[in-house]
Symmetry: C2
Subunit: 529 residues, 2 copies
């Protein structure tokens, strides 16, 4: 399929009216064809208006129609074939296996939401039947069901060109909820975004969805800002940097009508290594840790960026094994020049501190072209860490900082200073874990996900996933951006009081035609009334 | 029980360090004893810190312990006896029956949340079991459960001195969730607030809850602002004016770590009267409408403030009946001087417009003392309403504006210009309603609750209630402040990955010791694993 550099709204492809640019292959630094045009302010406004117009129709589509549309999106993405995975690799430096794996996850998410909305569980249907004779006042018939919130703006992220971009988790969950989506694609992978956009556009058309149910824009931060300020937009999904997420959050809250921004932003994902676990398996843990920290050139939001451990022979054995492992690791390609230079700058900041030592580094890059990063393992003492907040922030890329603690109390003090996190991990024996209840409780209060004897990278897509966490991991700790619960961001309940039964939404009819599990007078029921 | 004028934090009563004031009886305008002291900035900070310290213990209390505490709160409020209802009447002008009814609702809410958390449904427990042999990667064991968000600031509201104040819905739902509460009580009813605070303090002590689980502050807007800015506070519950809610929302979002503000603010609650319904029962509807608009001197957030109807003989019959009814209605006491003067000023604004006519007014106040409002029914034409946004806003008090529309299209245009609403109401025959699908759809998109052939006042407390709505009805349309779903504002999910089964929270243990209904591998189950 040809990449034109166009953008998509009102059900058609258009040349963007703002100045265009070309993507770069980050492995070589070379430009990729074609020139990608960018949206003007008027084009952003038009897309937002088209989404609002589509909403009136799309919110009333049946769950079956919507599920069919989502499955068709997945099919059309697969139909792009190698043109898609090749372009992903060209624009990100990711190997084919990663591109294929991410494509599978993306299509899996679309199909998962199709299945999930067909179950109707997201509707949270509730019925309280009337009690006309109740004293002192009669009780009316009340029925409650979730409805779509409104058009959603979705921002693509650099490090997941498929799974958190044009047809990623935010788009899939918003469309599943019944909300039209306007995507502001990420500038790093415009060709990938267009290909996926073409698949989405074809799927919308084939499924008979209203023009405006899906739009694909491209451009700089001003395009994103304009979109978040558009009065038709009712929520924002974002994954990316703290700075970017907070800028959108500010804009959204300064609107005359503030809207929620679900931004997944910043996390160092502390990894706590307890001594008994290290005694048993220092080498295995070291191997897993280095793999997790360097996977995807460390460009994961759940990369373990901070290791907390007690001083002693067990820790030194672990550090030796990890250092050895890291020294055999190649430099990796980073996604773009900005991310690469941030990594270099951040790392230099650490290296300039006399209280931070380099434990080990991976191999240097073989090429002088493109954007490469050298994996690096750093070490500091807890007392220095506590004194220096400048080394507490996330360093996006293949680096991790080991904080050596004198005892459990000091380790808990370090944890206590940390901000909210997407994930926290503990390596320990079961007996050891049982003795560290305070540590577990403290870490639980800081994170969205607690991992035992594993690594935080590899975020499973399922009902039990929580990908989000206390600020600044995300702007709202109450919501996940991965898994079926992600749909809850884009729904709002409506209560129908004394509504004529034949005119109620199907989810609330006496006969329960959708075969939902509903809360009837406070009790779960799958029956008709 | 003696009212001291003190405030409560760290499990003790203290004299407030800021300048005090006396409450007024709004019926007479006379001061009420004693002088009520106000919190200093240091006292606000101390209360917030005490709440954070209590959180570490309170969040880990069992559901049974927490339910017992909530029931004990209800018992202690009842134990206050007539001292409480008398003080409510003195501080608000509400008759005894209203004070008693609101007390019943308040205690009912506390007991409802006790029952609800014992069911464990709010935990939303989910389990996805491991698949160690899955290709290409093994699936870990993942378990998801809601946990308490953190200390919550609750703002009491003028018009519900019990049900939306110290021990009202926000407090009950936050405590049920496992969140300590710091109340900033409303200046209009400080004595009522203290009495309820004393009941809460006694209940906390009797139930062995940590000091700091509940605090009661008093003071001006600066006290509220300081509380919302306290880093220990993680969410805010507010009911009141648009101006007040938005001020808190702004403060909360300008914090280094933004927190959610659940503010229920502003709504005109449109009432649509279709001709067939009026033909059948103009008089009955008129009587119900006047009762709803003047109940509590019109000081309800769901007072029907706007009536939309088609011109014609049916409407004139309704208006005649409503006018007659209103003329027989007494002036009512308003809650305080500020609310009374806002009503007078707002009403004068309407009366000064030559496109607004007075249809009828209630009787004038008999007393020159105190704060009284005269019920007023106004009329305008749809074309004038559409031209004049200055008459679109809520007028808090016993007034309502009838907008006369030429036809259904014009009626929908008027609806289309309205902001988000807590409620919308339609009076119609079932046949008529079936013919107005576009109207129903439009109104549904604007409101949190849709009422058919009833009146919006009287908000039932139950699982199916939605009290909230699109902005500016509330700051976040996704949440209700009434009913069991209100607890969702104060919970966040945590995911446990490969956690040793014996150390998991009870809600996630294989044996299902809490007998919860859980989502196990995507399917609801009440069984052990």
């Amino acid at each position: 399929m040809r990449i034109s550099g166009d953008i998509y709204y009102q059900g058609e492809w258009h040349k963007g009216e703002s100045e265009g640019y070309q993507a770069l292959d980050p492995a070589s630094g070379k430009s990729l064809e074609p020139v990608m045009s960018a949206a003007s302010e008027v084009q952003v406004d038009t897309a937002a208006q088209a989404a609002a117009e589509a909403f009136a129709e799309y919110r009333n589509t049946s769950l079956t129609e919507r599920a069919k549309f989502l499955r068709c999106c997945a099919d059309e993405i697969m139909n792009l074939g190698e043109a898609l995975t090749d372009r992903v690799s060209a624009e990100t430096g990711y190997p084919t296996a990663r591109a294929e794996g991410e494509r599978a996850r993306t299509c899996g998410q679309l199909r998962m939401f199709a299945d999930y909305i067909e179950s109707g569980d997201h509707l949270d249907a509730r019925i309280d039947t009337a009690q006309p004779d109740r004293q002192p006042l009669p009780k009316p018939d009340l029925r409650y069901v979730n409805q779509a919130l409104g058009p959603v703006a979705v921002f693509g992220v650099a490090n997941f060109p498929l799974a958190f971009s044009v047809a990623g988790g935010d788009t899939a969950s918003a469309l599943a909820a019944g909300c039209p989506v306007v995507v502001k694609s990420h500038p790093s992978h415009p060709g990938t975004s267009e290909l996926v956009g073409r698949a989405m556009a074809t799927a919308a058309e084939k499924s008979g969805m209203p023009a405006g149910v899906f739009s694909l824009l491209r451009g700089d931060n001003a395009v994103g800002a304009r979109l978040v300020q558009a009065p038709q937009i009712k929520a924002v999904g974002f994954t990316g940097s703290f700075k970017g997420g907070m800028a959108l959050h500010k804009l959204a809250n300064e609107r005359p009508d503030p809207i929620p921004v679900f931004a997944e932003m910043s996390s160092v994902n502390p990894l706590v290594l307890l001594p008994e676990a290290l005694k048993d398996s220092a080498e295995t843990i070291a191997k897993g840790f280095v793999g997790s920290m360097t996977m995807g050139t460390g460009q994961f939001c759940v990369k373990p960026g901070l290791v907390l451990a007690l001083e002693g022979a067990e820790l030194e054995a672990f550090l030796n094994a990890a250092s050895e492992q890291l020294q055999q690791t190649d430099a990796g390609v980073m996604l773009n020049e900005g991310i690469c230079s941030s990594y270099d700058k951040g790392l230099t900041g650490y290296l300039n501190q006399d209280f931070v030592q380099v434990l080990a580094q991976g191999r240097e890059a073989q090429s002088e072209q493109g954007f490469h990063a050298r994996p690096t393992l750093l070490r500091t003492r807890a007392e220095d860490f506590l004194k220096h907040p400048e080394i507490h922030d996330e360093l996006f890329g293949p680096a991790s900082l080991v904080v050596v603690c004198k005892d459990s109390n000091q380790l808990r003090s370090v944890l206590d200073t940390l901000d909210g996190q997407l994930s926290g991990t503990i390596h320990s024996t079961q007996e050891e874990l049982a003795h560290h209840k305070a540590l577990v409780d403290l870490l639980t209060a800081k994170v969205g996900r607690l991992v035992i004897n594993g690594f935080p990278t590899g975020v499973e897509v399922c009902p039990s996933m929580m990908h989000g966490g206390p600020f600044p991991a995300s702007t709202d700790a109450r919501f996940t951006s991965v898994g079926t619960a992600a749909i809850q961001r884009f729904l709002r309940p409506v209560c129908f009081q004394n509504f004529p039964e034949p005119l109620l939404p199907d989810a609330l009819r006496d006969s329960n035609p959708l075969k939902l599990t509903r809360v009837v007078n406070g009790t779960l029921s799958q029956e008709a009334l």
